[in-house]
C-alpha cells in the first residue's frame, strides 16, 4: 500500500478499528505472559499460588538433575524428530511442486492435518498397543506369539510426533519450492553438475527460507509437545511440556512452571526471529533494484565481449 499522509482523523479511525483486537490480545495474551514472567521470580505458595519475596529460586530449581535429564531428552527428541520430519518433507515438497496435480496432493496432505489431533493420536494407540492392530496382525500371521512392546516408549513418541507435524513441514516447503525456478537445476546439469549436486548446490541454498520456516513450524510445537508423550510415551519419555503441566496441576509449583514456560517462549521467539530475518533477507535480495540496462550499454564501437584478449 502506498504510504499516504496521515491525518489526525485517520489515525483515530485506525485506532478505533484496531483497538478491540489490541485490547483483547493485551488482556488475554500479553497480561498472562507478563504474569508468567512475574511468577517465575516469586516463591511457591504453601497451597499452590505464589508468594513474595522475589527470588531466582525457580531458575535454580531447574538445575535439578531430573529436570535437566528431561530437558536434554526434550532437546534430543525434538531435534531428531524435526530432522527426520524435514528429511521426509523435502522430497515430498519437491515432488508436489513438480507435479501437475498440485491441488490433489495438497488435499491429501491437508485432510489428515485437519483431522482432530486426538483422533490421530488414538489411531496410533490402536495400531501400536499390545492388543493393537499391528500386534494382532503379526500374531494372526504367526510371526510372534507374545505382543511386542511397540508403544509407551521413546520410539513411539518420536514416530507419532513426526506423524503429527509432517504436514506443517511439507506445506511451507512446497510453497517455497513451487516458487523455485527449476530451470536453475537444468542450468546446473548443463554446467556439469550431477543430479544430487544440482539439488544440494542449487536447490537447497535457494529454498533456505522455506527450510527454516518448516524447521521452526515443527521444532517449536514438538519442543512444547504435551499430548503425544502423555498418551503414547512411557515414564521415560516425558518431555518438558509434561513437566510444566505437572508443576501446574500436581505439584502446584507455579514459579517453576512459569520459569520453564519462559524458557520455551524465549527459545520459540528466537527461532521465529531467525526465520523472519532470513526470509526478510531473501525478500530484500529479490527486491534490490537492478541497474538500468542503458547504463551497461558499452556502445557499438567497443563491445564488451570482444575487446578483451584471448580465450582458452
Amino acid at each position: 500500500m502506498n504510504v499516504k499522509q496521515t491525518t489526525v482523523r485517520e489515525r483515530r479511525l485506525g485506532i478505533t478499528y484496531s483497538s478491540p483486537m489490541g485490547i483483547w490480545l493485551t488482556v488475554f495474551f500479553m497480561v498472562p505472559l507478563l504474569i508468567i514472567i512475574a511468577y517465575s521470580f516469586l516463591t511457591k505458595g504453601l497451597y499452590g499460588g505464589v508468594e513474595f519475596p522475589i527470588t531466582f529460586d525457580a531458575y535454580l530449581q531447574m538445575a535439578n538433575p531430573n529436570f535437566m535429564r528431561v530437558l536434554l531428552r526434550t532437546v534430543w527428541v525434538t531435534t531428531l524428530a524435526t530432522a527426520l520430519t524435514i528429511a521426509l518433507a523435502l522430497p515430498c515438497g519437491y515432488a508436489m511442486a513438480r507435479s501437475k496435480h498440485q491441488t490433489l496432493w495438497l488435499g491429501m496432505v491437508i485432510v489428515p492435518f485437519w483431522t482432530n489431533s486426538l483422533i490421530r493420536i488414538y489411531a496410533w494407540i490402536a495400531i501400536l498397543s499390545s492388543e493393537g492392530f499391528l500386534n494382532e496382525m503379526l500374531k494372526t500371521l504367526g510371526f510372534i506369539k507374545e505382543s511386542l512392546p511397540l508403544i509407551y516408549n521413546q520410539g513411539a513418541v518420536t514416530a507419532v510426533l513426526i506423524y503429527m507435524y509432517i504436514p506443517f513441514a511439507i506445506l511451507p516447503l512446497f510453497t517455497t519450492i513451487d516458487k523455485f525456478d527449476f530451470g536453475l537445476l537444468e542450468a546446473a546439469r548443463d554446467l556439469g553438475a550431477t543430479k544430487p549436486q544440482a539439488i544440494f548446490k542449487v536447490l537447497m541454498p535457494n529454498i533456505r527460507s522455506g527450510i527454516i520456516t518448516s524447521v521452526i513450524f515443527t521444532f517449536i510445537p514438538i519442543f512444547g509437545a504435551y499430548t503425544v508423550p502423555l498418551l503414547v510415551g512411557g515414564k521415560d519419555s516425558y518431555m518438558i511440556g509434561n513437566i510444566i503441566v505437572d508443576q501446574v496441576t500436581k505439584t502446584r509449583n507455579w514459579p517453576l512452571a512459569s520459569a520453564f514456560s519462559l524458557i520455551i517462549t524465549l527459545i520459540s521467539t528466537l527461532g521465529v526471529l531467525w526465520m523472519m530475518t532470513s526470509t526478510a533477507r531473501e525478500r530484500a535480495r529479490i527486491k534490490q533494484q537492478p541497474l538500468k540496462d542503458r547504463e551497461d550499454t558499452l556502445g557499438p564501437s567497443h563491445n564488451g565481449l570482444t575487446s578483451a584478449g584471448r580465450v582458452s
Binding site: 536453475l184 537444468e186 554446467l191 549436486q197 537492478p290 541497474l291
Partner: protein
C-alpha cells in the same frame, strides 16, 4: 576450425498429441553460427533442449562429433547452454556463478581464480565480480550467463533466445558482441530465436522451423531471397504474397519467363524463374516491399518485364531512413511498399496521403514459391 559438428537425424518428439518435432533432420557444421528460427511453439526450443540433454526424442538420434549423445545426461555432454532467462544462481555472486562449473570439477583454487577472472574480463564484468545477480542489469546478467557457459570450454554453445528479455538497442549491441565472440573462439554456436532480423544478421546458416518441421535451411541470403515456402516468405521480412496460377512458361535465355494469373491483383503478371513450371500449376507469388518502385508519374515501360499498377496511397509511414506506403489498387488489394531515403534532395516526402501513384516492379524481382503450405 574448433567445435564439433552436430547431426540431428529423424528426430521426433510428441507431448501427448502435440507434435513438437516431426521427423527433423539437420546437419550443423563445425564452428558454424547456426540459427534455429521460427515462431513460438515451432519446436526450436525442444530441439535445443534435446541437444542439451533436458529432453529426449521419441525417435531419432543426435550425434555430436559423430557420437550418439542421447544416452548421456546433460552434465556429460560437451555442450553448454545460455538460457533465455539467464538462469543465474541467485544465491551465488557473479564470481561464484562463473566458478560453479570449475568448483564441480574440483579445479585447484589458484587456477580456478585465474580462469574465472579471465572469463569475467572477457565479458567485461571485472567491476561486478562480487555482486549478486539480482543487482545486475539484464545485459550484465546475460554476460554472466555467457561467461558461465563458456568457462567449461564446450565444443558447442547453445543459445536459447538469449536476447529476448533485453530492450532493442541493447539487443543490437549484444548481438554484435556475440558474433565477434563466435569469430574469436570459433566453436559451434546454435542460436534459437523467433526474431528473424537477429537470425539474418549474425548466422552463417539458418533453419526455419514451423509446427515441428524444418521448412528450409540456408544462408540468410538464400532464405530471404528465395524462400522455400509461403511460410518462410511471410515469416522472414515483410512481403506481399498472393496465390497464383501459372498461365504460361516460356524459356528465355537460361531461365523461364512465367506469366501468372493473380486474382487478387486482378490481372496477370510476368515473373522469371529458373525451374520450368506446368501450365495451370498453383503457386504463390511474392514480391518484397522494397523491390517495388513507387512514383507519382507513370514510369516508362521498358520491355514487358515491368509489372505496372496504379493505386491510391492509403497510409504513408515516414520513419526517417525509409518510408512505407500502403497502396490500394483499383480492385481494393493493398500492397506494401518500402522506399529507402538515400538522398536528401531526391527523396523528399513528396508522396502524400490519398495521392494517386504508380507502383511497378521488374519481372526478375518477383519470386515464385512452388511449395504452398496447406
Amino acid at each position: 576450425m574448433k567445435g564439433f559438428d552436430v547431426t540431428v537425424k529423424d528426430v521426433s518428439r510428441a507431448y501427448g498429441s502435440f507434435k513438437a518435432l516431426d521427423d527433423v533432420s539437420i546437419e550443423i557444421h563445425k564452428g558454424e553460427f547456426f540459427s534455429l528460427l521460427g515462431p513460438s511453439g515451432c519446436g526450436k526450443t525442444t530441439l535445443l533442449r534435446i541437444i542439451a540433454g533436458f529432453d529426449s526424442p521419441d525417435v531419432g538420434t543426435v550425434l555430436l562429433d559423430g557420437k550418439d549423445i542421447l544416452p548421456l545426461p546433460p552434465d556429460r555432454r560437451q555442450v553448454n547452454t545460455v538460457f533465455q532467462n539467464y538462469a543465474l544462481f541467485p544465491h551465488l555472486s557473479v564470481y561464484e556463478n562463473v566458478a560453479f562449473p570449475l568448483r564441480l570439477k574440483k579445479i585447484q583454487p589458484t587456477k580456478l581464480d585465474t580462469k574465472v577472472r579471465e572469463y569475467l574480463h572477457l565479458v567485461q564484468l571485472d567491476a561486478h565480480i562480487d555482486k549478486k545477480p539480482s543487482m545486475l542489469s539484464g545485459g550484465q546478467k546475460q554476460r554472466v550467463a555467457i561467461a558461465r557457459a563458456l568457462i567449461n570450454e564446450p565444443n558447442v554453445l547453445l543459445l536459447d533466445e538469449p536476447l529476448s528479455a533485453l530492450d532493442a538497442k541493447l539487443r543490437q549491441n549484444l548481438l554484435v558482441e556475440l558474433d565477434h565472440l563466435h569469430d574469436q573462439i570459433g566453436i559451434t554456436f546454435i542460436y534459437v530465436t523467433h526474431d528473424q532480423s537477429e537470425a539474418l544478421s549474425v548466422s552463417d546458416r539458418i533453419a526455419v522451423m514451423n509446427q515441428g518441421k524444418v521448412l528450409q535451411v540456408g544462408t540468410p541470403y538464400e532464405i530471404y531471397e528465395s524462400p522455400a515456402t509461403d511460410f518462410v516468405a511471410r515469416f522472414i521480412g515483410e512481403t506481399n504474397l498472393f496465390p497464383a496460377t501459372v498461365l504460361s512458361c516460356n524459356p528465355y535465355k537460361e531461365e523461364y519467363i512465367v506469366s501468372l494469373d493473380i486474382p487478387e491483383l486482378g490481372t496477370s503478371i510476368m515473373v522469371t524463374d529458373y525451374d520450368p513450371l506446368q501450365v495451370g500449376q498453383k503457386v504463390s507469388f511474392t514480391i518484397r516491399p522494397e523491390k517495388i518502385k513507387i512514383t507519382t508519374d507513370e514510369p516508362r515501360r521498358v520491355g514487358k518485364d515491368i509489372n505496372l499498377f496504379s493505386g491510391i496511397v492509403e497510409e504513408p509511414i515516414y520513419s526517417g531512413f525509409q518510408s512505407k506506403y500502403y497502396v490500394s489498387l483499383s480492385n481494393g488489394t493493398v500492397l506494401k511498399i518500402i522506399q529507402q531515403h538515400n538522398n536528401y534532395m531526391d527523396d523528399g516526402p513528396d508522396i502524400a496521403w490519398k495521392d494517386n501513384v504508380f507502383v511497378s516492379w521488374s519481372a526478375e524481382d518477383g519470386y515464385i514459391v512452388e511449395v504452398v503450405d496447406s
